[in-house]
Amino acid sequence: MWLTEGRWRLLEVERPEDPYYNLAVEEAVARAVGEGVAPVTLRFWRNDNAVVIGAFQCVSLEIKLEECIKYGVKVVRRFTGGGAVYHDIRNLNYAISFKRPSPIPGDNILTGYRVVGDAVIAGLGRLGVEAEFTPVNDIQVGSRKVSGMAGTLTRNILFIHGCLLVGSNIEVLSRVLNVPREKLEAKGVGSVRARVATLRDELGREVPMDEVKKALLKGFEEVFDAEFISGDLTSWEKDKAEELYKNKYLTVDWNLGPCKGCPHKDRDTALFRRVGLADQKASGLQI
């Protein structure tokens, strides 16, 4: 029904200070769309000072936890694969959830990155930034990455989200992420700093977040030939988000992830308890 009507939902629900809640909402919306209880949804949202790690990544190998403690950076694991990213308030996240079969050609995630990438690139073009899609899941300006995407494909969901470096603090980003040498070499660079760029760098000015959102929205409307109507979370989504928040995203087990048998688990758990500790306690993190 939603697809044929061509009227999709635009959500701007965010709690920048609470990345655990933001990720809970992200998954709740994807599930709602997959279940057919919500329309195709585009969401714009922000975290303030958080590392978001991929579903299959090892926290202690990918993130410099000591640096996170030093800079007050919170760490949360997302439900999609891909690499760790740093979010601050000058980074914009976009997410689009489809019920399968989706309008993405082949209903395929790798094509999905390309098509969603086209929407973001169209939006960036409106801002005067010439960007291009770089497989598997990046958007680059020249050789530098401005946006990375991640996604998942389940029985009933095709979901893709990404982050866009509008004016982020690259100094903190490069200190908290521990990108493997093998990955940087494959990208032809020697450091994270040389690998990324912000819209501020490209345009030589601070770009207001509303301007970026409007441009991206136009890009999504163009590429998907759809009209987005501003909406809010449904009660189904609010309940699901609350459940996921408490039982998944606020737990050390979920956030430390796949390394259950790791000999360094105790050390990592002790470090993780100190990451953004005051805020975690305030938000009820089970530590």
Partner: protein, 100 residues
């Protein structure tokens, strides 16, 4: 004392697999695959490493067969890497020097 080994393997498909493993008395005692690949169902991927526990490190064929077996399960979806990359990553780790 178990021997520890690690490897980082970059797939031609564009994503990275990391392997951390332990060997006790010549047998794999703990194998963990992590990385920036994409897959579903997420909780299943921990089972690749778990399925290798107890295998003799000299029996590479059996180790590789177990990895193949995992990916033959229906409903396993992976992108950005291929099943072969998990095998190559593990082989690389086994060849690497011991890790502290």
């Amino acid at each position: 004392m178990p021997i520890r080994k690690q490897a980082v393997y970059r797939s031609e498909r564009g994503k990275t697999i990391r392997v951390c493993l332990m060997i006790t008395n010549g047998k794999l005692s703990n194998v963990i695959f992590t990385g920036d690949f994409f897959g579903e169902p997420a909780e299943e991927f921990q089972k690749i490493g778990e399925s290798l526990t107890g295998l003799n490190v000299s029996d590479e064929n059996e180790i590789m067969r177990k990895i193949d077996e995992f990916f033959k399960k229906k409903d396993i979806w992976v992108a950005g890497v291929a099943p072969e990359d998990f095998k190559q990553a593990l082989k690389k780790a086994l060849k690497n020097h011991n890790h502290a």
